[in-house]
Amino acid sequence: MEGFGSELQRLIKPNKVFDISIFGFDMSITDSVVMMWIVMAALIIFSLVFTRKLKTIPEGKQNVVEVLVEFVYNFAKDSMGHNGKLFAPYIGTVLMFLVISNMAAVFNVIPSSEDIYHWTGIEFFKDLNFAIRPPTKDVNVTLTLALMSMVAVALAGIKVRKVSGWLKSFIEPVPLMLPFKILDYVIRPVSLCFRMFGNVLGAVIIMELVYFAFPAILPAFLSIYFDLFDGILQAYVFVFLTSIYIGEAIE
């Protein structure tokens, strides 16, 4: 169990992959950031490949992007009304990022840097501390995402109601509401962030346990639920709530 304990520790804590310091500040790149880069690269390659040579009559891969983009725009329109179109790219970006990120655990068969070091003995992998894990299991990532969503909500409110109107919305309908409205702005990102973080980390830990106990067959079925279904569901919930908050702000 000793090995499993340290494994759990490694799962929960941010692991430094590259040590970097800028102006004396520690700006080390963690495994979550590297995972984000991988997800970003995947999404950018996807966009590049799938949007090439758009034809009037869609065929093959063009159908995929059309369905995706149409889904995002309809989703934005449904939850945010007519102005939702403006926020559709943001919503779509977050949705795609979260879906791919949450599903990343499916690829945990890819050996971690530690395993590679054990097998090959190459020094480079010794302290790399990197394994394919969802970046969203890192509370820092989900918190950033949630805060950015709240920034988007605030920007949406300012854009539609102007600064004065947006500030006024804090004391409407009565000034007594001010503390609650401020609480609202704080609680929303926190709840968004911890819902995502808890679900993904929980799924990762459970899958880790299952792999530990039953290395074959059973993890495959559980992975469908914990990695795919739960991942997509949590991504959807996150995006759905974000869009509802934005919708409220621009109403």
């Binding site: 970097i20 979550s32 999404l43 950018i44 009037t56 059309e66 983009v69 970006t93 820092n140 950015m148």
Partner: protein, 163 residues
């Protein structure tokens, strides 16, 4: 303890990454595809509107041509009828004329026949008078053929109503 789990660099990198990803995906994926789809939608709407308009125009033209055709048919019918009536009138007139002419010819012929007959009768009568007088002369052995006797015999014949 909590500080073990918090990583400010991750926070900053995530924010930067997300903004970059947003900008890239917006430029590469969402904007071109949604604009493309919007354009296609508009062009489909436009072409459908065009088709609708052309269809209604065609229907209008069809109605117009149909009514024109009907008018032309009616006109033709009218002309035909008029021509028939005219022909009938002409025919009747010609027949009437022919009849009249025939009648006139008939009358003229009758008159001529009458004239001829009268002439012939006159001749015959004269012959009869001459014969009668000659016969009488032979019987009486004297010339009876005088103006006086000729008148006498003629009168006799007229009284007998031979003519």
């Amino acid at each position: 303890m909590i500080s073990e789990f918090i990583s400010i660099p991750t926070f900053i990198y995530t924010a930067i990454n997300l903004v970059i990803l947003y900008l890239i995906l917006k430029k590469l994926l969402f904007k071109p595809v949604s604009e493309f789809m919007e354009n296609r939608k508009n062009s489909i709407i436009e072409s459908m509107e065009n088709a609708e308009r052309e269809k209604s125009e065609a229907l209008e033209l069809k109605d117009k041509y149909e009514s024109q055709l009907k008018e032309a048919y009616a006109q033709a019918q009218k002309i035909l009828k008029e021509a028939e009536e005219k022909a009938q009138q002409e025919y009747e007139k010609i027949v009437q004329d022919a009849k009249n002419e025939a009648e006139a010819l008939k009358i003229k012929a009758k008159e001529e026949i009458e004239l001829e007959k009268n002439e012939a009768l006159k001749e015959i009568r004269n012959e009869v008078v001459s014969l009668a007088l000659e016969a009488a002369s032979k019987v009486l052995e004297a010339n009876m053929d005088t103006e006086e006797n000729r008148k006498l015999v003629s009168k006799f014949i007229d009284e007998q109503g031979v003519a």
